[in-house]
Amino acid sequence: MSVGTTQPIAEVERAASAKTPASASGAGNLAAGMLWPLLSGAIGLALWEGLVRLFKVPVFILPAPSQVIVTIVEQWWYLLSQLAITTFAAGLGLVMAVVFGLAAGAAITASRLVDRMLTPWLVIAHAVPKVVIAPLFLVWFGFGLQSEMFFVVAFTFFPVIVNTVTGLKSADPEQILMVRAMGATPTQVLRKIQFPSALPSICAGIKLAVTLAPVGAVIGEFVASNKGLGHLLIRAVGDMDTPLAFAAVTVFSIFGVLLWRLAEWGERRVLPWHPSQREAFLRGAGT
């Protein structure tokens, strides 16, 4: 049984435009998007190579890009195996930080008392320069994974907690009222309204944490581990093996970029409905 009269034209037009993909050249855009950064990178590298050769800069002061690439190729197994160790520690620490961050964020949102008692400690823990406490971790936890993991947590917990709290508090009070009127229990309110509302903010927090976690792992390795990319770096620098140090930094940077991309991909999967993802949603899926 239909309404009988036709829908107002404005409504139909709005609905239609929301369903059709925006005018994008898809693959063309992607190529253009990559072309200029690649070109810029190539020019920069060529300049660097030229300067090093021209001024005969000693390899232990500044290696040429060609030298760094050679080192990466020659030692790719060593670099990747150490990267794997760092990644493992970063990943484990990140999981711990996210679990802890979500729980603490939820507790802080739920209780003013918890907020008042816990937040000062969190702020202090965040404010302390991590490089200062790293040697302490070594003394408390010894060399190895456990020190690294706690270090990663120290680096990453704060963005997760702050973003969780902000997200949970941004839940629409009228939506909460509405589900309460439907008879929702506090747990249902949390699961069905507060947590989904908080998800965009939580994702932002986790994206930040994802980029900070490897940094935390590497710095932790400088001081408190005898394995991993951080350890490799500190030995390379100490031994004046600058090409290896640069190679490690390069590998680490590429890894960081890949991680960021991965985090963004994850975000797209989790938040297809969010304004930030709508263009991609229309371009990609369509309903």
């Binding site: 309404v3 829908q7 409905w273 309903t287």
Partner: protein, 270 residues
């Protein structure tokens, strides 16, 4: 309280709706500058299945009255009954449509309509959800996200959601105020048709005199501070109604009667 399973025991779309009874209901808010009488002692009987509009200016207490009946707030004095049971806590079997559609951005349209079933732990309502969406002319958007719909369509989804569990009462608090005038007219037609087919006791709060008359069997005219019912007008038109009836003499005379009330109390000057 109307049990959930009872409200589901309907085979033809019509079923158990509840009556509403208010006896000497008063709401007073205590404040630093003295008491605020939101609602003066008010008594009224609304039989089951009836469609009632409450029309009045802002702040006259109509929203407060709706909250009291729904059990979301308690009266200072007096007794409220829904379906012969005293209201002491939030009445579970009400579908509410607010001025904002309050659809959840992260759920598709179908998921939004099914929300009350999830909260109440009821299963097997997916078929009804799809039917309602189809009936309200938004079936094509069942798997879309709310942001892909226009304001009018979103409110239709909200109404479908309110009706999903076949509630005993349907409350609408200025549901169409945020829509443009043409869409609003469309929604009026939709609402009175829905009310007829579902047979649910309906309470519509509105600013619009025309809307109040068109969508109801009975119009309660409220004035504010303290909130009181100035008039209780029966609307004689048959269902289903067409927009054209708004231009009839009978319709305009009811409208005039209401308007004169507002002029008398100074709400309208004209």
């Amino acid at each position: 309280m109307i049990a959930a399973d009872q409200s589901l025991a309907r085979s033809n779309g019509r079923g158990v709706s509840a009556s509403i009874s208010l006896k000497n209901v008063e709401k007073v808010y205590g404040g630093p500058s003295g008491d605020l009488h939101a609602i003066a002692p008010l008594s009224i009987e609304l039989p089951a299945g009836e469609a009632v509009s409450i029309v009045g200016p802002s702040g006259c207490g109509k929203s407060t009255l709706m909250r009291l009946i729904a059990g979301l707030d308690a009266p200072t004095r007096g007794e409220i009954r829904v379906g012969h049971q005293v209201v002491a806590k939030p009445v579970p079997d009400i579908g509410i449509v607010f001025q904002r559609d309050l659809l959840l951005d992260w759920r598709k349209v179908l998921g939004n309509v099914l929300l009350p079933a999830e909260i109440k732990g009821l299963s097997g309502l997916e078929g009804r959800a799809r039917e309602l969406l189809q009936e309200f002319d938004v079936g094509a958007f069942t798997d879309s996200y709310p942001w892909q719909l226009s304001g009018g369509m979103r409110q239709r989804v909200a109404i479908a959601r309110a009706l999903l569990t076949r509630p005993a009462l349907l409350f609408l608090d200025e549901p169409f105020s945020a829509l443009d005038a043409l869409t609003r007219d469309q929604m009026n037609v939709l609402l009175q048709r829905v009310q007829t087919s579902e047979g649910v006791t309906t309470l519509l709060i509105t600013h619009s005199i025309t809307e109040a008359i068109f969508c109801a069997d009975r119009v309660l005219v409220m004035s504010g501070r303290p909130g009181a019912i100035m008039d209780d007008i029966r609307v004689p038109f048959e269902r289903p109604r067409r927009l054209a009836i708004r231009e009839t003499a009978e319709f305009t005379s009811i409208g005039r009667r209401i308007r004169e009330h507002f002029e008398k109390v100074g709400v309208l000057v004209g």
